[in-house]
């Protein structure tokens, strides 16, 4: 029983970086912009966050630095894809390749180093409840923060003028421009939010989840987060659901290994990627289902 609780806790932790990145990319895409640079931004932020955390000794400083690095790096994307109207797919790809190279280069000094941060915090009172305590109340605050962020984003999108504006820009930048919205400014903001969230996710990986810096350590999570946003048909709570499902897939490999089942670790490590492919195929089967919430201008360049 306690083992199941631990598995739930591990699933929530594993799902958190996907949720953080996914929520950020959701806002990013709701404005009509696809940023395939997610993986690169997460890598840069993982390296930057680790470096700041390592030198300052503060996990919070490291996480904030990661978010800042992600947002800053996303500005490079915005300058090209929004400012210079370059192809969004190619630009995002370039950002990922550049981020992978740059993080490997900048992170060399930190290979093999470790950081001493606490990875779990017990919530007084609640943590002692049998089962529930282990499953839900002995986690890192980032896990709860990610959920809170999901709620806030869902509320903003559905209930506020800001959310309405964002949806309008994503649906028809031409119309939004015609009635006088600063379309490009709004898009830069949405992309920066996406970058900051991806950055937070990357720094969470290197500072809390793993916690160490290894070249390429994001291991495709940026891409999985991008896929998640599509699976979730651009709805915040579905992103959360998807993130935890994928978290549980990651956990299956550890659970199986703990059970002593003889499957090579490399084959088990394929699971999240294979799961992404399978879910993507199942969901994409019905284009109408995807399109119902898809921002109509997604991926299309806009030049006023």
């Amino acid at each position: 029983m306690e083992q199941l609780a631990a598995l739930i806790a591990a699933t929530l932790s594993a799902g958190t970086p996907l949720l953080l990145a996914g929520i950020g990319l959701l806002i990013n895409e709701r404005s009509g912009v696809v940023n395939l640079g997610a993986e690169g931004m997460m890598l840069i932020a993982a390296a930057a966050g680790f470096a700041v955390g390592f030198h300052s000794g503060s996990a919070t400083a490291g996480l904030l630095a990661g978010a800042a690095a992600g947002a800053l790096f996303s500005l490079l994307f915005s300058a090209l894809a929004i400012g210079l109207v370059t192809n969004q797919y190619a630009t995002g790809l370039a950002l990922t390749l550049f981020g992978a190279g740059l993080s490997a280069f900048a992170g060399l000094a930190y290979v093999g180093k470790s950081v001493p941060f606490k990875t779990t915090f017990e919530i007084p009172g609640l943590a002692d409840i049998p089962f529930l305590g282990t499953a839900f109340f002995k986690l890192h605050p980032m896990v709860y923060l990610a959920l809170l962020l999901t709620g806030v984003v869902a509320w903003v999108l559905a209930r506020t003028r800001l959310g309405l504006t964002l949806r309008a820009v994503g649906e028809s930048p031409e119309s939004a421009h015609a009635i006088g919205f600063p379309v490009r400014g709004i898009r830069v903001g949405a992309v920066a939010f996406g970058g900051a969230c991806c950055g937070l996710a990357g720094a969470y990986l290197s500072l809390i989840y793993t916690p160490l810096w290894v070249e390429g350590m994001v291991a495709g999570r940026g891409w999985i987060a991008l896929a998640l946003v599509t699976f979730a048909t651009w709805r915040p709570w579905r992103v959360a659901l998807g993130a935890y499902l994928f978290g549980s897939v990651t956990m299956i490999q550890f659970a199986l290994q703990a059970e002593g089942i003889e499957i090579a670790s490399q084959l088990l490590s394929m699971l999240p990627y294979l799961a992404t492919i399978v879910v993507l195929a199942l969901i994409s089967r019905n284009p109408a289902f995807i399109r119902i919430n898809m921002p109509a201008s997604l991926g299309k360049p806009f030049h006023p």
Binding site: L36, A94, L97, A264, I277
Partner: protein, 350 residues
């Protein structure tokens, strides 16, 4: 305030000078990077652009690196011309290497000398098979090919790791994750004695000519490009979008798989965990830098090979990490996209 203004017609001049401008921006960026790292920019640039070419061995190494870059980029150029965003050449290359390696391991010392052709064929089929998964899921389920092909690259990489750590590990290999070395008959013959360069470069150049004819002269190539450029026009003309998906991905998979086979049965002679140092991803940049044109890909593959070799040399000569290769690659693509803007737009004061 400066603003972008659409040109009445795309600028042909910019289209072909943009890669050179991008290269110049990257060199300037490199100069600052070397300065920031406390190295002499001149020495740094020399390592990247001159040292690799000042002797036969260096030239042969550059040519050797060009083989996978050129082959993968030719396939990707066809995909991108058909608007199929295959970014999984890396996975197709790795799986091509695996299937080629599998066949190579079956060879015995008294197999025929032409056995290596079988190895290459296995590589081609492996790459095609891997790409066909993406094609099938896109065609049948409308699944996004960017994500599928990329996820399959991770899966391919893990499959390779599994094989060289498990069933295919050389029992006499001191527990290193390598396969046995291949028999000589399974290897691609050398082109230049005394170097590592194989006939692979000739095969790659033949592939270039074939792709060139396909793209510029064949009706099938024309159909493919119409489905990519203008899907509605393709539907109007009666050209099949499904054909576009399958043909471009299969060609691209075949070329990437061939590249993988030429790599493992060429300079390496065995399967190793990292036999592809990101060639499939670098080839994306090569295809773009080469304007999705076969001739351009040759030039771009040459530049990219220099960056690869330069990265290796800068480790030994300048004490810089080899990861600098990735930084330059990314920088090159970013500057290229920037320069490309001015094909369709120009700056005006407003």
């Amino acid at each position: 305030m400066l603003r972008l203004e659409a040109r009445p017609a795309p600028s042909t001049l910019m289209r072909y000078t943009a890669p050179l401008i991008a290269l110049a921006i990257t060199v300037v960026f490199g100069t600052f990077l070397f300065l920031a790292l406390g190295k002499s920019p001149l020495a740094g640039l020399k390592v990247f652009f001159i040292t690799p070419l000042d002797n036969l061995r260096g030239v042969s190494e550059v040519a050797l690196k060009m083989i996978p870059l050129l082959l993968c980029s030719l396939g990707l150029a066809i995909c991108y011309r058909s608007n199929i965003w295959n970014i999984g050449a890396e996975g197709q290359l790795v799986v091509g290497g695996i299937t080629a390696g599998g066949v190579a391991l079956l060879a015995s010392p008294d197999s025929a000398r032409a056995y290596f052709l079988l190895v290459l064929l296995a590589g081609i089929l492996g790459g095609m098979a891997w790409a066909s998964i993406t094609a099938f899921l896109r065609d049948r389920f409308n699944a996004n090919e960017i994500l599928v092909s990329l996820m399959l690259s991770y899966v391919g990489g893990l499959l390779l790791l599994y094989l060289v750590n498990g069933p295919w590990k050389d029992p006499k290999g001191f527990n290193f994750p390598y396969s046995k070395t291949f028999e000589a008959v399974a290897m691609v013959p050398k082109l230049l004695p005394g170097t590592r360069l194989t006939w692979g470069i000739v095969i790659a150049l033949l592939a270039l000519i074939a792709v060139w004819i396909f793209v510029a002269r064949s009706k099938a190539g024309f159909r493919l490009q119409v489905t990519g450029h203008a899907p509605l026009a393709a539907r109007f003309a009666g050209f099949s979008a499904r054909e576009g998906i399958w043909v471009s991905l299969l060609i691209s998979g075949a070329l990437a798989g061939l590249a993988g086979a030429l790599e493992v049965a060429g300079p390496l002679g065995q399967l190793t965990p990292q036999f592809s140092t990101g060639y499939g991803f670098a080839a994306i940049i090569v295809a773009w830098l080469g304007r999705l044109h076969p001739g351009g890909c040759l030039f771009a593959a040459f530049i990219m090979a220099l960056i690869y070799i330069g990265g290796e040399l800068s480790q030994s000569r300048l004490g810089l990490p080899a990861a600098i290769t990735g930084v330059f690659q990314g920088m090159l693509l970013l500057s290229l996209l920037t320069a490309d803007t001015f094909i369709h737009y120009r700056l005006r004061r407003s």
